[in-house]
């Protein structure tokens, strides 16, 4: 249906409708309002480049200064098998995929569609859990003998630090750039931050106990999804 009558155009036209005094008011307000001119593309590029270093720095600090143990699990007894490499690669791909969906601009510059965002939110934690918990990797003798926290609280602390920093970095990169589906995007950013946290603790921790893996490795992904949804939509909106 087009709202036309015989011989009339298809739309209700507003022939320069906003009054002129409105323009003066807006021009004055705009002149008085500071705005950044650093493109979102640059901010995203910097964020993606910085995040792996931040995760590595947290891992090094935690392992050397706080827990006094090796920063990577293969130095702590986990055998370097092809299965370990495959799982690590799949987790890295999962993390990068979640990041791409969460902070990508999409074809129209309005971000990825809400279906892709919700898929990322819904699937990342279960896929991570399936890869790490269904058939846990061998812990190795050193890890089995070591005092690894049974509830995964050490991993939870490291994951929280990495996730929080990544969440802040991604939020800063996308500040005021999400006019559409800001809640879904916020949740997806939380999921991506959680995925980086999960990848970091996977590299760090050799434990294979389900309870430890669930609390210390998987739970942070869910927690950061909820945190993202609760805290950052308002910051993301223009």
């Amino acid at each position: 249906m087009s709202m036309t009558d015989r011989g009339m155009p298809s739309r209700f036209e507003s022939d320069g409708a906003p009054p002129e005094e409105l323009f003066s008011r807006i021009r004055a307000a705009v002149a008085a309002t500071p705005s950044s001119t650093t493109s979102t593309r640059s901010r995203i590029a910097v964020a993606v480049a910085v995040v792996p270093f931040v995760a590595a720095a947290v891992l090094l600090l935690a392992s050397q200064l706080v827990y006094d143990r090796p920063a990577v699990r293969i130095a702590f007894g986990t055998p370097l098998t092809s299965r370990l490499c495959i799982v690590a690669l799949m987790l890295a791909a999962l993390t990068l995929g979640a990041t791409f969906v969460a902070i990508g601009r999409g074809g129209r510059g309005l971000g990825h569609g809400v279906a892709a965002l919700l898929l990322a939110v819904a699937l990342v934690a279960p896929i991570y859990a399936a890869l790490t918990m269904v058939r846990p990797l061998e812990a190795g003798p050193a890890a089995a003998l070591a005092d690894v926290s049974p509830w995964g609280l050490r991993c939870l602390v490291i994951a929280s630090a990495v996730g929080a920093l990544v969440l802040v970095i991604f939020t800063a990169a996308l500040r005021r750039s999400v006019p559409v589906a800001s809640r879904a995007r916020a949740a997806a950013i939380g999921t991506a931050a959680g995925a980086w946290a999960g990848l970091t603790v996977f590299v760090f921790c050799p434990d294979s106990q389900p309870r430890h893996l669930f609390v210390g490795h998987v739970l942070p992904i869910v927690a950061f999804t909820i945190l993202g949804l609760a805290l950052i939509p308002r910051v993301l909106r223009p």
């Binding site: 249906m1 087009s2 709202m3 036309t4 009558d5 015989r6 011989g7 009339m8 155009p9 739309r11 209700f12 036209e13 507003s14 022939d15 320069g16 409708a17 906003p18 009054p19 409105l22 323009f23 008011r25 807006i26 021009r27 307000a29 705009v30 002149a31 309002t33 705005s35 950044s36 001119t37 650093t38 493109s39 979102t40 593309r41 601009r105 999409g106 129209r108 510059g109 309005l110 569609g113 809400v114 279906a115 005021r176 750039s177 006019p179 559409v180 589906a181 800001s182 879904a184 909106r237 223009p238």
Partner: protein
């Protein structure tokens, strides 16, 4: 040949890069459609002006987030709706008396095209008044889907991107709005042409 959309895109690209001098030209190109969209989103004229001003300020603050090559108007519509939803959220937290939904000020802002015969202009105005009143009765989601597709000429996919939902949902919302308007116009004495979808008054009831 450079189309108006290309020109608008180029102006926005320059503005996003920090060239403040192009603001006025950008405003002149965007304002009519954007203001009309604001009038469709809110019930009252003064409120539409506030929303329009808020939208342009947000657009200014977020100018660096514009992606070169994307549609400026679609991006601006998305910001307008975001601003509108923020205002609705604010109002939900602080309810107040908003007065009548149909406001004469708003009616004056939306002009049916009057370049044609006086009779056609009168019919267009009558049709516009009914559509405006009936749009005000629709839910925000159905109304905005209808306005973007039927009045602003966006495709279903484009409207879905602007509204942050799927094409199927937007299609459904626009269809609900369309059905509501079709029934309302029929009740008001207007008949839809089965061939070209245009409307004609069959009785002087409006």
């Amino acid at each position: 040949m450079e189309t108006p959309a290309d020109k608008l895109g180029e102006l926005m690209r320059r503005y996003a890069a920090g060239e403040d001098a192009v603001f006025e030209e950008l405003y002149r190109m965007m304002a009519p459609r954007l203001h009309r969209f604001c009038c469709r989103l809110v019930a009252r004229g003064a409120e539409a002006d506030d929303l329009f001003q808020d939208t342009l300020l947000r657009l200014h603050r977020a100018r660096a987030t514009f992606m070169p090559g994307a549609s400026v108007m679609h991006w601006a519509f998305a910001i307008t709706r975001s601003a509108h939803l923020d205002r609705l959220r604010y109002r939900r937290r602080r309810p107040e008396d908003l007065g009548s939904v149909s406001d004469a000020a708003q009616q004056d802002r939306l002009h049916a095209d009057e370049r044609y015969s006086p009779e056609a202009a009168v019919r267009a105005r009558a049709l516009r008044d009914i559509v405006t009143a009936e749009l005000g009765k629709l839910s925000e989601k159905n109304r905005v889907a209808y306005v973007l597709i039927k009045e602003e000429g966006l495709s279903v996919k484009e409207a879905a991107a602007v509204l942050g939902t799927t094409a199927a949902v937007v299609k459904q919302r626009a269809h609900r709005a369309y059905e509501h308007l079709r029934v309302a116009l029929g009740n008001a004495g207007w008949k839809e042409d089965e061939h070209d979808g245009s409307w004609d008054a069959i009785a002087v009831r409006v």
